[in-house]
């Protein structure tokens, strides 16, 4: 009798849980569907207006704001010289390059010294934003006034390297670029266009990030876009397209952009100094900086815009093995949780508009709690099936609906990419992305949820906050431009 009652109760609990799970998946994917739709409309508008955007005028204008490009580097000997050359050859009226060699133990500095004929200069570095690691020396390139290399002691944090670079930078706009990133030739002018168009209100802009694995490069420029050979990287191509390109375009249009990728973003220098630079010890330094910018502007009641520009591309190498990908995703998840944790006043605060009422609750409910719900859902489903609390038919339908909704979003993203940027122009690439969009849902998505959960646990335990270094394979070299 007791056993029967218990079974009945458990059956009821599982029935309710399945409803909650279904509602959760529906809400998550529907929000993404809305974001992708908003992004598609925005992209259409962008393409229609593009011929009249005046990039050429901005290149010629004497009032286009000069940019300091900051590259933090830790053991980046493989690609640092190429990256630096790529930055110096960008189409932009006036820029300086500041590289911070943050205690590299490889030949990062030596490679730079040989390539740019660096010479040490005595320099009193102002402490406009706080730094911890001691600056050992400052070097400039002979004959090139706008290349500065800082050698500093590492405290194991990228934020400290970035703050040191901010202290040295002299121009009103700061462009943060990862050491392994390769920018399109016109990426800088395109990402700074919102500052030209609306100088009073725009405080930060971010560009799109795409995986560079499989691409061919010549002298720090992508000459041919390709698909990675590795399936894990191929799945990330679809993921970057859906989440970073379209997701961020959607959030930006809604005025609720929380993340400008640390790999490629432009910020107003005066405001970055006002808010004290990067938060030392922050793992999700990019999201944290943007969150504090939102807070600063709202506190001062200054109208502002933080804009995502989808066209300028920053190509960056994505992990091709599970161990590194797991480490990266754990860091991202931790970073996001810590950002929300350290800026609690933003959450559900009507003062912060769509950011406080929509974007942040979304991140909490679906990005931070998402892995818990997803994994609990899977475990519950298995248990429920094992004890016949739900029937196979229902479970199968439930699972199929959830997976198909995810696939639809990925295919929709591919469709929008096909109509708009069309970067992967070979038929073979199209088939590979479609297959990746299907495969992603069987295994990868579940693993990803688990890694995100690990990140959340790490954030709660507050452990391991060192540089998230990644072994680089580099590009497929091209002998011709």
């Amino acid at each position: 009798m007791i056993q029967a009652t218990l079974m009945l109760t458990l059956s009821e609990i599982f029935r309710r849980l399945s409803w909650i799970g279904l509602g959760y998946f529906l809400a998550l994917n529907s929000i993404y569907l809305i974001l992708i739709t908003v992004a598609a409309v925005n992209l259409g508008d962008y393409f229609r207006r593009k011929p009249f955007s005046g990039f050429q005028d901005a290149l010629k204008s004497p009032v286009t704001l000069p940019v300091s490009v900051l590259i933090p580097a830790h053991n980046e000997e493989t690609g640092i010289v190429e990256s630096a050359r790529a930055v110096l050859s960008l189409d932009y009226p006036q820029l300086e390059l500041v590289i911070v060699d943050d205690g590299s133990t490889d030949l990062t500095f030596e490679r730079l010294r040989d390539a740019f004929d660096l010479v040490e200069i005595p320099m009193l570095v102002p402490e406009l934003v706080p730094t911890i690691g001691h600056i050992d020396s400052v070097h400039i390139a002979r004959g090139l006034d706008d290349v500065t290399v800082i050698r500093k002691q590492s405290i194991g944090q990228k934020t400290d390297a970035l703050n040191a670079a901010i202290n040295i930078a002299k121009y009103p706009l700061l462009c943060i670029v990862d050491a392994d990133a390769v920018l399109d030739e016109d990426a800088l002018i395109k990402v700074t266009m919102p500052f030209v168009d609306d100088p009073q209100r725009v405080v930060a802009t971010g560009g799109a990030i795409r995986p560079s694995n499989g691409c061919t490069a010549y002298r720090g420029r992508i000459t041919e876009v390709g698909m990675p050979k590795n399936w894990l990287a191929r799945i990330q191509v679809v993921e970057y397209l859906r989440a970073f390109l379209l997701g961020r375009t959607g959030w930006s249009k809604l005025g609720a952009l929380l993340i400008i990728s640390g790999a490629f973003g432009v910020f107003r220098r005066d405001l970055i100094i006002d808010i004290g630079g990067y938060n030392q010890g922050s793992i999700g330094e990019d999201a944290d900086l943007v969150a504090r910018l939102h807070k600063h502007m709202k506190t001062n009641k200054t109208p502002y815009r933080i804009v995502f520009v989808s066209e300028p591309v920053c190509w960056t190498e994505v992990p091709e093995n599970i161990t590194i990908l797991r480490r990266q995703r754990r860091r991202w998840s931790r970073g996001l949780l810590e950002t929300i944790w350290s800026n609690p006043t933003l959450l559900m605060n009507p003062r912060y508009g769509t950011l406080g009422l929509l974007a942040l609750p979304y991140f909490v409910l679906f990005e931070i709690l998402g892995p818990i719900v997803e994994l609990t859902g899977f475990v519950t489903l298995i248990v429920a099936l094992a004890f016949h609390f739900v029937n196979f038919y229902f479970a199968g339908l439930f699972f199929t609906a959830a997976i198909f909704y995810g696939i639809l979003l990925s295919i929709l993203s591919l469709f929008i990419e096909e109509v708009s940027y069309h970067r992967y122009d070979k038929w073979r690439f199209l088939f590979q992305t479609i297959i990746s969009a299907l495969v992603e849902n069987f295994g990868y998505r579940q693993m990803h949820a688990y890694w995100r959960l690990e990140g959340v646990i790490q954030a709660l335990r507050r452990s391991d906050r060192s540089w998230g270094s990644m072994p680089r394979k580099g590009f497929i070299p091209s002998e011709t431009p």
Binding site: P122, A141, L414, E418, W427, L430
Partner: protein, 357 residues
Amino acid sequence: MRFALVASVLLLSVLILLMLIATGIIRLVRTRSEKRSLANRAQLRLLFVKFVSEDLDPAELRQLKTSRLTELDELSEAMLSKVKGRAKDILVSFLESRGTVEQAIRRTTRSGYLGRCRAAAFLGHVGSPQARKPLEAMLRDRKRDVRTTAARSLGQLGDTKSVPLLLSGLDNGRRLLPFSTVLVALMRIGSSGQDLVGDALRAAGERQRAAAAEFLGLMGSIKFTATLSDLLSNDPSLDVRIRCARALGRIGSPNAIATLTRCIERDNPIGLRAVSCGALAAIGGREVAATICQLIDEDDYQISLAAAKAVSQMGPAGTEYLNQIANSGSPGSPYAKEVLARRAARMAGKVRHPSES
């Protein structure tokens, strides 16, 4: 519940399939049309080159099919911004003879804003004087893109009569023009518009005054030194004052020294002091050197560094003075050392570079 799930799975499957088919069709259509237009363009380019190099027999042109002529119209429109001189004249007269200029003028009042933008851009490239009025009217268009394109095109037309309207667009309530676009347009019109721009130094709008100061500085308009100096002392806007200081430095008239010197005094904002310091250095002279040198020992690093940089621009005397400060151990000596080291590195590069090449 079960029915809802079955229905949603079916719906999702259909949608996925449709999206896949649509993606494939778009790819197919794109690939084919690219191939076709590539072949078509190759033929058309040949015709176009013959046409602009005046090798095309007029009879041959008359024999062209209407569709071919339309394609030639489109290519000519697209090439307008890329060709110059005689070739451009030929293109313009061809397009005028085909009535495209009048069509574009009519399009400036159409309802679709992209059509208006296209018309404005085309009229700018053609450079026809009759386009000025419609383009000026477009400066008050409700769409920002239309206003911006029209401003750009007015710059390409180069008629000084448009200067006041371009400048007033900077403070035109909700229908503003971007600062950068107006400045580039004014620079395209060039020095012939200086007097009209000079009038804007007395305008009520802050952005007009700022643009005028920036433009006059870039043009090196010496006759506005007094007005710019006056604004530098009295304008309520710091932005305008900073631009005036920079402009005076670019103009380089010694008449501005007194005003600029007052601006480097401690009671002024740091940004203005630093820019004035650079401006004084650009004007140069013994009297100026003494004033700037005192600033190197200032408490604020921005001023010290700006002063050290300014002194380094003053030839051998400046270098000698910087050396003295660098060895003196005074508060400004680190900045003097830095500027000297930078200068040495720059010079070394200049010496090294030709030998390498």
